[in-house]
């Protein structure tokens, strides 16, 4: 036992595979945040007047707000918002029409990350295709398969492009799920967001391929503030993936994104994230501050929104992907694996807001803490008055590795309708030495054994991920815990 603990104490920072920096010619906004900067960003993007107004309103509102530091179970130094550059863009043309126009250095970067932007390449030998929107620092550099998707009437492009090409859609839906008044980081994002992905699936269309956005922070001294908006019109279906990485740096970098999802009648949206931002070194130096607001609304009857997240990166994670169940019979799901190792801290969970009748929600959360990390689940289930026969099932499991980490569960349950049924189950367990020895005795070394046991522990969640993503996620889980035991 003692020996085991000793081994556990010997933390070796697992190698972060994506810590490299690319030498890309980049244009920056001067550091700091004021109305001039907000105007600068808007101007850079050639935005219409209404959007600039929106940004300025958000900015003014943000100035009246304070950083939400007291309620999350997180400890970190406040961000100096005046020490960040709010715009960084590769100097080559921001959006490109053909593959040949993309900066080769950018292509190399994404290739290194295992993301091919070459459509041809992805088509060969792959049964399922994935359309990618690649975002580096503040801008989207390339969106693939746009034409194929357009044939079905699907719009999949960068947010900036959507503002130019489909202003009516952007105007109608932006901020309808996450208004800028929602919280500190949502307000900040609304003021300075630079790019992101936009997706619209028209009535009755089932999107024939997975859509994905790949986010990469490259430049130093910047933050990333992207905005994603997904709209599934009546009877539409889309599965959406999001991945992210950042270089290894000693300073903390800020990532404050907003994702909004709107599902109309009978529509379904599946949103999967594998979050692998740089987590900092083993002493807690550097790493991304990940403050993200993700929310979907089941606007009309029989719609469904499902969030699946595998969170392994970031020094600080603060995110609560939520669903507002407004339409009758609508369904919200949240499947989460959050891994923290070394000095990482995560405060993550979900909110399920039941407004419509016969609405159902499911929450499956698996927290894994190792090293000296702290991992909290925070979730709200609210059943509003008049939400007849609403149901929720929540299961929150925590797995501890070693004796220096923490796991916490903060469930909030508010039931305002007598017909509602809410179930909450929670477990906390330690990874069993017996399990590890059993694996050892079958020829499996301890490192692999932990990977196996942890993957098994998370299976309910991993099963929700699209195939190719699941393979990645499984590898990532093992890598993230490398060195956490013997």
């Amino acid at each position: 036992m003692e020996e085991k603990n000793q081994i556990l104490e010997e933390h070796i920072a697992s190698e972060y595979k994506y810590g490299f920096v690319s030498d890309i010619d980049t244009e920056f906004a001067p550091k700091g945040l004021n109305e001039e900067i907000v105007k600068f960003i808007s101007q850079k993007k050639n935005e219409p007047e209404w959007l600039l107004e929106y940004r300025l309103k958000a900015f003014r509102h943000w100035q009246t707000m304070t950083e939400p530091k007291h309620w999350p179970h997180l400890h970190y130094n406040s961000v100096d918002f005046q020490d960040i550059s709010y715009y960084a863009a590769p100097k080559k043309k921001a959006t490109v029409n053909s593959f040949d126009e993309v900066d080769p250095e950018l292509l190399k970067t994404f290739e290194k990350l295992g993301i091919s932007l070459e459509e041809q390449k992805r088509l060969v030998g792959m049964e399922s295709k994935i359309a990618v929107d690649a975002v580096i620092d503040s801008v989207s550099v390339k969106t693939t398969f746009k034409e194929v998707l357009a044939e079905k009437g699907i719009v999949f492009c960068s947010f900036s492009e959507a503002v130019q090409e489909h202003p009516e859609l952007v105007k109608k839906y932006m901020g309808s799920v996450v208004p800028f008044t929602d919280n500190f980081y949502a307000a900040l994002n609304a003021a300075v967001f630079s790019d992101g992905s936009f997706c619209y699936i028209p009535k009755g269309v089932r999107c024939p391929m997975e859509l994905s956005t790949y986010f990469r922070i490259n430049s130093a001294g910047t933050g990333q503030f992207e905005r994603t908006l997904i709209i599934a019109d009546e009877g539409a279906y889309v599965s959406y993936l999001e991945g992210c990485t950042a270089p290894q740096r000693d300073e903390n970098q800020l990532h404050a994104a907003v994702v909004e999802i709107v599902a109309h009648r009978d529509a379904e949206v599946k949103y999967s994230t594998v979050q692998n931002w740089y987590p900092g070194d083993k002493d807690g130096k550097g790493g991304i501050y990940n403050f993200v607001t993700k929310r979907g609304i089941c606007l009309e009857a029989n719609s469904k929104i499902s969030w699946t997240q595998v969170e392994t990166g970031s020094a600080i994670t603060w995110k609560y992907p939520s669903v507002i169940l407004k339409g009758d019979n609508s369904i919200g799901e949240f499947y989460s694996v959050a891994v923290t190792n070394n000095m990482q801290q995560a405060d993550t969970g979900t909110k399920m807001i039941h407004l419509g009748k016969n609405t159902r929600s499911t929450i499956i959360s698996k927290g894994i803490s190792a090293g000296k990390s702290d991992n909290s689940y925070r979730g709200l289930v609210r059943i509003a008055k008049g939400a007849k026969n609403a149901r929720n099932f929540s299961q929150c499991d925590s797995l501890l590795m070693g004796d220096q980490c923490g796991a916490h569960t903060f469930p909030y349950i508010e039931i305002h309708d007598k017909t509602g049924v809410v179930e909450h189950e929670a477990t906390t367990s330690k990874i069993g030495e017996d399990q590890i020895f059993y694996c050892n005795q079958r020829g499996i070394d301890t490192e692999k054994a932990i990977g196996l046991i942890v993957n098994g522990y998370c299976r309910e969640v991993l099963d929700q991920l699209p195939m190719e993503f699941a393979v990645e996620a499984k590898k990532l889980l093992s890598v993230s815990l490398e060195g956490s035991v013997g």
């Binding site: 036992m1 020996e3 085991k4 069993g432 017996d434 399990q435 020895f437 059993y438 694996c439 050892n440 005795q441 079958r442 020829g443 499996i444 070394d445 301890t446 692999k448 196996l452 046991i453 993957n455 098994g456 522990y457 998370c458 299976r459 309910e460």
Partner: protein, 246 residues
């Protein structure tokens, strides 16, 4: 060999030679050190080996990690098999087989070959195909767990198999199935150490030698008939004999 746990000496000078193809039964009263012997051989770290050596394939087992012992061909059928939720039996075995193959400089097993092997070996212990796809030992009955141990043993094709009270908690039918499986795995190259309390198991798995372990030492060895004698007279006469000798 000597070994202790938490400072308490359990095995106090134990000599045993097992030749290829032989089946040795280790019997003895509660607390005599039988399970300690099995755990020490497999490399469980709660035990401290205070002296001696264990030669296996010309290597000292005690120098090897538990996983390397397994890769060298040592298999322990656990008295209390461990549950690993969410990990399918199949995935678990495939990982194990490939780890062992890698150690022996072999390529990973072909999926087809692996599935054929699963099908073949399942039959040995009459294991339901569904069990092979379920999570390792999760929700298995006592009998199913023990059968699963023998199934794993068959899959990994070890050179030395240690059965740690495999008969405990088994009804007569399950005992027969498990013993049958073991008997089919007997071969001139494969040896067995069968640790048990009771003669019952040895009716089915007939040993070449029987050893009585008492107070951390082998106090009596003999042919299979010794087991019958123990069943008849209990362990008291051995204890008496031993104390006289001391």
């Amino acid at each position: 060999m000597q070994a202790s746990v938490e400072g308490k000496e359990i095995l106090r000078g134990l000599n045993l030679e097992v030749k290829p193809g032989e089946v040795h039964a280790i019997m003895g009263p509660n607390g005599s050190g039988k399970s300690t012997l099995a755990s020490v051989l497999a490399g469980r770290e709660d035990y401290e080996v205070t002296g001696g050596e264990v030669l296996f394939n010309g290597k000292d087992l005690l120098d090897l990690s538990p996983e390397d012992r397994a890769r060298e061909g040592l298999f322990l059928a656990f008295q209390y098999p461990i549950e690993i939720p969410g990990v399918s039996n199949i995935n678990f075995l495939k990982t194990a087989i490939n780890e062992i193959r890698e150690y022996r400089d072999m390529d990973p097993i072909e999926p087809k070959e692996f599935l054929a092997l699963v099908k073949e070996k399942q039959k040995l212990v009459e294991l339901d195909g569904k069990l092979a796809n379920r999570s390792v030992n999760e929700g298995f009955s006592g009998g199913e767990k023990k059968r699963n141990e023998i199934f794993q043993m068959a899959m990994l094709e070890p050179k030395l198999c240690i059965l740690d009270e495999t008969d405990s908690g088994l009804d007569i039918d399950a005992l027969r199935i498990v013993a049958n499986g073991v008997n089919q795995l007997r071969s001139p190259e494969r040896s067995f150490i069968v640790v048990t309390h009771y003669q019952r198991l040895l009716d089915y798995i007939v040993p070449d030698f029987v050893h009585v372990l008492y107070q951390g030492k082998i106090v009596k060895s003999g042919p299979k008939e010794l087991a019958l004698e123990l069943e008849e007279k209990g362990y008291d006469w051995i204890k008496a004999e031993t104390s006289v000798a001391i």
